[in-house]
C-alpha cells in the first residue's frame, strides 16, 4: 500500500544551492508531514543541481521528484501550471506547499482552479487540527489580522507560505539517502498564451538578498529627500528601499517597495526612517533581525516592532547618521 504524500514544490532553487526560502519550506513540510503521518517529497521543476539532494537529506525529505523537460528550462506560467496539474494527477499528493514568490502568486491559484481544489496564500503557519485536517494561519487585512483556514476533503490542499514565516531547522535524524526519481511530463503541446515583449531588467542589488536595508517613508517630507535614504544606504553598505505611499507618489521606484504588495525581505538590519509602520509595510520587513525606527511620532506603530528607536525628525537625524557612518 502506498502512503499519502505531502509535496513541497520549488523551481529556480538550484542556482546557488538552496536558498533560505527553500530551507524554510522544507522545514515546514517536514513538520506538517510528521503531523499528518505522510511521506515528504520535494518536487523540483526545471533546472537541477546535485546539491539539492544533500539539502533534501538535511531536512528529512523522503524523496525528490525531478521534472526536467526542456519546456521547464525557464519559467512560463501556462507550462508550469500544466506540469503541476500532470504531477498531481500522477502522484496524487494530499497537499502541495509552495514558498510564495511573485510567480507562485499566479501559479498556485491557477493550479487550484484547474484541479478544482482549495488554495490558501500568505501562509504564516501550518498545522493539523484535532480532526486531522490541514489548517493554515494566513495574514489578512494587510498584516494586522490573522485568518485561519481549514481544508475540506478535496485534494490536493494548496498552500503558499510567506518567506520568513518559519526558521529553517534541519531534521533531527537525517535518515537514509534520498531517492531521486524522474517524473516524465508531456508538455510538448502546451501553448504559452502570454508572450513577453520586454523582459524585466533588475536594476541594482536585490533587496531580497540584502543584509542591510535603509527604507524611507512619508516622513521624508518631499521626493528630493529620498536621496538621504540612498546616501545612508551607501554609507552603511546597504540597499535603499521605500514604503508604499511614497512609491505610489512616485518618490521611489516600485521595485524598491517593501510590504505585502511589494517585497518581503529579512535583512540583519532594517533602518526605517519616516515610516509609520503600517501593517502592510511590516508584512514585508518584520522578519528582519533588528529593526531601527526613526520617527517623529512617539506613538508610531513602527516602534512596536523596532529594537532601537529614535523619536525625532528624520530630516535632522539622517544627515548626521550619514556623516557618522562615513567617518568610520
Amino acid at each position: 500500500m502506498t502512503s499519502d504524500v505531502l509535496a513541497v514544490c520549488t523551481w529556480d532553487a538550484s542556482v546557488d544551492g538552496a536558498s533560505s526560502e527553500v530551507e524554510e519550506l522544507l522545514t515546514l513540510g517536514r513538520r506538517v508531514s510528521d503531523a499528518l503521518g505522510t511521506e515528504l517529497r520535494w518536487l523540483v521543476l526545471g533546472p537541477w543541481s546535485p546539491e539539492l539532494a544533500e539539502v533534501a537529506a538535511t531536512y528529512g525529505v523522503t524523496g525528490i521528484d525531478r521534472a526536467q523537460s526542456p519546456e521547464l528550462e525557464t519559467f512560463r506560467a501556462d507550462v508550469y501550471v500544466e506540469a503541476l496539474a500532470q504531477y498531481c494527477a500522477r502522484c496524487s499528493p494530499s497537499a502541495l506547499l509552495f514558498s510564495q514568490t511573485f510567480d507562485v502568486r499566479l501559479v498556485a491559484p491557477r493550479l487550484a482552479g484547474r484541479l478544482g481544489c482549495g488554495v490558501v496564500m500568505n501562509g504564516l503557519g501550518l498545522d493539523v487540527d484535532a480532526d486531522g485536517r490541514l489548517r493554515v494561519i494566513a495574514s489578512a487585512y494587510g498584516g494586522d489580522t490573522r485568518a485561519v483556514y481549514v481544508f475540506g476533503d478535496r485534494r490536493p490542499h494548496i498552500v503558499a507560505v510567506m518567506p520568513g514565516a518559519v526558521a529553517p531547522a534541519p531534521a533531527a535524524s537525517s535518515g537514509a539517502g534520498v531517492d531521486v526519481r524522474d517524473v516524465e511530463l508531456d508538455l510538448t503541446n502546451v501553448e504559452e498564451r502570454v508572450r513577453v515583449v520586454e523582459p524585466a531588467r533588475a536594476q541594482g542589488p536585490r533587496l531580497e538578498d540584502a543584509q542591510i536595508i535603509v527604507a524611507g517613508g512619508r516622513g521624508l517630507g518631499s521626493p528630493a529627500n529620498y536621496e538621504l535614504i540612498e546616501q545612508l544606504a551607501e554609507a552603511v553598505g546597504g540597499v535603499a528601499a521605500a514604503s508604499r505611499p511614497i512609491v505610489d507618489d512616485g518618490w521611489a521606484d516600485p521595485s524598491r517597495q517593501i510590504g505585502l504588495t511589494g517585497k518581503i525581505v529579512r535583512p540583519a538590519l532594517y533602518i526605517a526612517a519616516g515610516v509609520s509602520g503600517a501593517s502592510q509595510h511590516m508584512a514585508g520587513c518584520s522578519a528582519a533581525k533588528t529593526i531601527v525606527a526613526i520617527n517623529r511620532d512617539p506613538d508610531a506603530a513602527i516602534f512596536r516592532y523596532a529594537r532601537y528607536g529614535v523619536v525625532g525628525d528624520c530630516l535632522e537625524i539622517l544627515p548626521e547618521l550619514i556623516r557618522a557612518a562615513r567617518t568610520r
Binding site: R105, G116, D144
Partner: protein, 271 residues
C-alpha cells in the same frame, strides 16, 4: 468589445487596522466576522483601480462597454459607486459570500460572466484588502479558459490581424515587464496604476437612476459542490506584537546619531 470588472465590497482596511492596533477590534460570536458598525464599507481599492483601467481603455478610443459585476450580501452600494465612476452596465449577484470561499466566488463570477454577455477582457483588483488572498482572478481565468496576467500598472488594447490584443506592463520584483496576449484574457490591476478618477457630480446623479441587472444564484445554475468551501475560513484574530524598543536620544541630532551607530556596531550589525 465587452470589458467586465469584478468588484468586491470590503471593510475599510485603515479603520480595521486602527481598531486592531488599539486592541478594540470586535470579532463576532462565530469567531470570524468583524461586526463593528462603525467601520465603513466601500469598494476594494484595487477593484476601483481596475474600473479606472477600464475607463482609460475607453478614453483611449477603444469601442467598448464596461460592465461591473459584484457578488455579496449587499452589492448595491459598490455598484452605485461603479456607475458614478463611469460603468455602462451593472450586474449584481446578491449572495451571502461567507457561505463559500475564494474558489466558490470564482465559480460564481465565471457563471455570471458567461450568462450576462461574456467578456473579452476581465479586469480584477490584484487582491481584496480584507483577506489579501488574490486568488479569485487566477481561478476565474482557469474556469473561463483565459490566460491570466497579474499585477498590471498599465494596459492597452489594440486590434491586430488576428483579433484584439492586450499589452500589459507588469510590476515584477525585477522591474517592469511588458507582455502581450490575445483576448479574451484576465488582467489584475495593482496600485501602481495610479489614482482612480473621482466621480463627477453629474455622473453621481445619473448613477442613481442606473439599476443593476440582478442575477440570482438559481439563475446561475451552479452545482452546489462548486460553492462548498474547499478551504473554509474558521477564525479571525489579532496577533499580539511584543514591543521591546529601546529608545536612543541625545542632546543634539549629532549625538543621537553617534549613539545609535555605536549600538549597532556593538551589536555587530555595522562595521
Amino acid at each position: 468589445m465587452r470589458i467586465v470588472v469584478c468588484a468586491k465590497e470590503v471593510l475599510e482596511p485603515d479603520a480595521v487596522n486602527a481598531y486592531a492596533l488599539a486592541g478594540r477590534l470586535v470579532i463576532g460570536q462565530d469567531g470570524k466576522t468583524l461586526s463593528q458598525a462603525a467601520i465603513p464599507r466601500l469598494m476594494n481599492a484595487y477593484d476601483e483601480q481596475a474600473i479606472e483601467a477600464a475607463l482609460r481603455i475607453r478614453d483611449a478610443g477603444v469601442d467598448c462597454t464596461i460592465a461591473v459585476v459584484s457578488a455579496g450580501p449587499n452589492p448595491a452600494d459598490v455598484l452605485k459607486h461603479a456607475a458614478a465612476l463611469g460603468a455602462d452596465e451593472l450586474v449584481a449577484v446578491p449572495f451571502d459570500t461567507s457561505q463559500t470561499d475564494c474558489s466558490g466566488i470564482a465559480a460564481l463570477l465565471a457563471a455570471c460572466i458567461r450568462r450576462s454577455g461574456g467578456g473579452d477582457l476581465i479586469l480584477c483588483g490584484r487582491q481584496a484588502s480584507d483577506d489579501d488572498q488574490g486568488v479569485v482572478p487566477a481561478i476565474l481565468g482557469e474556469l473561463l479558459d483565459m490566460p491570466v496576467i497579474t499585477i498590471a500598472r498599465e494596459l492597452s488594447v489594440r486590434q491586430s490581424p488576428d483579433g484584439p490584443v492586450v499589452r500589459v506592463t507588469r510590476v515584477t520584483p525585477n522591474g517592469d515587464e511588458t507582455v502581450e496576449s490575445a483576448l479574451p484574457a484576465v488582467v489584475t490591476i495593482s496600485n501602481e496604476l495610479g489614482q482612480p478618477r473621482y466621480p463627477t457630480a453629474a455622473r453621481t446623479i445619473a448613477a442613481r437612476r442606473m439599476q443593476p441587472a440582478v442575477v440570482s444564484l438559481e439563475e446561475l445554475a451552479l452545482d452546489p459542490k462548486e460553492l462548498q468551501p474547499k478551504a473554509a475560513l474558521t477564525q479571525l484574530f489579532v496577533p499580539t506584537v511584543q514591543g521591546n524598543c529601546e529608545f536612543i536620544s541625545g542632546e543634539t541630532p549629532t549625538e543621537t546619531a553617534e549613539r545609535l551607530l555605536e549600538r549597532l556596531r556593538a551589536d555587530g550589525l555595522l562595521e
